[in-house]
Symmetry: C2
Subunit: 398 residues, 2 copies
């Protein structure tokens, strides 16, 4: 039986603090504005992908979380084509290399979190797909170069090629060659960034982000102002707050940009709503907390769905998780802090926080959430010895 | 006992289709943009005010809905001063006139609807206050002139000085002398305009509009675009749709402007939310209906609260109320249409409307509303023989 070449990678989720919303080119996934994100720890949220190729494989195949999926989407086909072309040029330069570019691929992928929870799984998925094949092919390209391929698969996936703090520079070129992810600062620069994700119940079907953002591009009267003036200024400011580790200002910009993004959704015609009454309650809670402290120690942000991501610095963990645990302790996800007395007893909640508002109506404040995920800033894609393929069959391990 | 001079007026509520949101001068209530509204019928929503003055009255007094209220607010004081000054100049020109300007006022006012329901009661209230005193004083000023005084009391009140379709021209002057209401078209031009108000339950305290709009002015990055470009263009277009009785386009502009207004609220820092999940459900319902017909036959609009006002033309009443009655029939307010079989049986709902969405989850669609008000475009302030004063005591009738 012929050899199976294989490589396994894990890739992270990223949550934008300056939002990507709008494409100027749909085929190439070129955005209308630059964006910034924080890469989250793969201990909590990651995609593991094993890419393999072999002469004995008869067609390209993909398994996601145990089920076979089609690889036929144009976006995925474009990614595979780009990667094979890069491999092909290596093989051309060195005829000793095995002709991996001519072999079919078996790609096996698993998330360590529920795909459907609206947690940017496509970003981690495409980042892992591209990284695993790039490693299988031993491609010399930098992460920024690979991010352009990931971008074609799913725009925000390009930011998952890096750990820490990442910018997706929108670029200017028509062919998209300058629309790529770059590192703003590595994890080591500001490792104290934590995130609490409140997964919010959602009974309605949201507008998918791909069609939603184009509806905004074509119908929102306020959108032009956002992309021409608001975001370019905020992009520079946010990079600076990251370099300065100025959480107070970083939080302000993050919250403002989440608001701005949801504003242009609401300004679309017909309007798009991703925030629900539970999301609004969480926004209010974060505002009350920041007001009670007199500075921003927590920053909410919402993607194209009702889930809240709350960023904070580890030095304020007992304050923030103390408050959140007090309200949301009936949901799962608190294991990491169950031995922290200050959090469990909510003893660090600021004196000026109007805790009576919560106590008077705890049932109402705590409703509408389904689970909690405690995580933090993390690394970019990583090689792993864990493999999802059964080398005797070329299929996913049973 | 000395004579009591008295005059009674009823004044209407108006609901903006192009929203007033933002003051450029807080003292004079000068807006950052022009606005347009439809005046609603006083059969359903009106304030009745009896203004009276007498040498025997010892101080200015006000009774609202049976309870004595203070007249001390600066805004109200300014209105009374302006009206007295106009009367004073009449008395100066004709010494035979009784010196009403020197007498104290007793003002008695009643709404025919619950004040707290968030139904623009302050607009009707100030319009009735100004109109009743102007009539008591026999002032020769036009409604546009009087609207400038009403404006100082409550900005949107100026539009309640007219019936039909009304514009509040923002003006340019620093003293506000050109910031006034004008008639776009009278009721008789387009009498077919109907409105269904869905009063929505609201458990939270909204940000009051006066402070909310100034938060938006000072913190929203998208607001400038709204007032400088979006609204001025829409103002001209909306006037045209009214003159052309082009409901399809009127509805589009009305819905877009409601969305735009709530967008800049959400873009404020911290964000302001007036729409709740019930409001969003109603927006979705109107969109589904319009899509099923292939044109806009209904237009939602929301002020600074979750209540929906749905405008439509009388020719489509059976379609629109048929659908709304099917969903919201458990609430009060349907008396007017209970003898209309088509409405009761929902027999005119368009074939293409996805009625199964409603049938599958009627309980969910119908929740969150508290009452329904069926009304239509109406006249401006009107004299009435009904009086609220007991002439023997100078106090409200028992």
């Amino acid at each position: 039986m012929s050899e199976i070449f294989t490589s396994s990678i894990t890739a992270p989720v990223n949550i934008a603090t300056l939002k990507y919303w709008g494409k100027r080119d749909k085929d190439l996934n070129l955005p209308t504005n630059s964006s910034i994100s924080v890469t989250l720890s793969q201990d909590d949220l990651r995609t593991l992908t094993t890419a393999s190729c072999s002469e004995k494989f008869e067609q390209d195949k993909l398994w996601l979380n145990g089920e076979e999926h089609s690889l036929n989407s144009e976006r995925t086909q474009q990614c595979l084509l780009d990667l094979r072309n890069l491999r092909k040029s290596l093989e051309k330069d060195d005829s000793n290399l095995p002709k991996l570019s001519e072999m079919k691929l078996h790609i096996i992928s698993e998330n360590n979190f529920p795909t459907a929870a609206g947690l940017a799984s496509s970003a981690a998925g495409f980042a892992a797909l591209i990284s695993s094949i790039a490693k299988l092919y031993k491609l010399p390209q930098s992460n920024s170069e690979l991010s352009k391929i990931a971008r074609k698969g799913s725009g925000s996936a390009c930011r998952s090629l890096f750990g820490g703090y990442v910018a997706w520079e929108m670029g200017e070129l028509v062919n998209g060659e300058d629309s790529k992810a770059v590192e703003v600062a590595p994890l080591s620069h500001w490792p104290e960034m934590k995130a609490c994700i409140l997964v919010v119940c959602d009974d309605k079907k949201d507008v998918p982000s791909t069609s939603g953002m184009q509806l905004t591009v074509h119908t929102s009267d306020l959108f032009k102002e956002r992309i021409e003036n608001v975001v370019p200024k905020r992009f520079l400011e946010m990079k600076e707050t990251i370099l300065n580790k100025d959480f107070n200002k970083f939080a302000e910009l993050t919250m403002k940009d989440s608001n701005s993004f949801h504003s242009v959704c609401l300004d679309s015609y017909p309007p798009i709503f991703y925030l629900n009454d539970t999301s609004k309650k969480i926004i209010k809670l974060v505002n009350l907390l920041n007001e009670s402290v007199g500075e921003n120690i927590a920053a909410y942000t919402f993607d194209a769905g009702p889930n809240a991501v709350i960023y904070y610095e580890s030095k304020n963990e007992e304050i923030i998780l103390g408050l959140l645990y007090k309200i949301f302790n009936k949901y799962s996800g608190w294991d990491k802090i169950l031995n922290n007395e200050s959090v469990i007893n909510a003893s660090k909640i600021p004196e000026k926080f109007p805790i009576e508002l919560i106590n008077d109506n705890l049932e109402n404040w705590s409703s509408g959430v389904s689970r909690v995920i405690l995580t933090q800033v993390g690394e970019g894609p990583m090689e792993t010895s864990e493999s999802l393929i059964d080398l005797s069959t070329g299929l996913p391990k049973a």
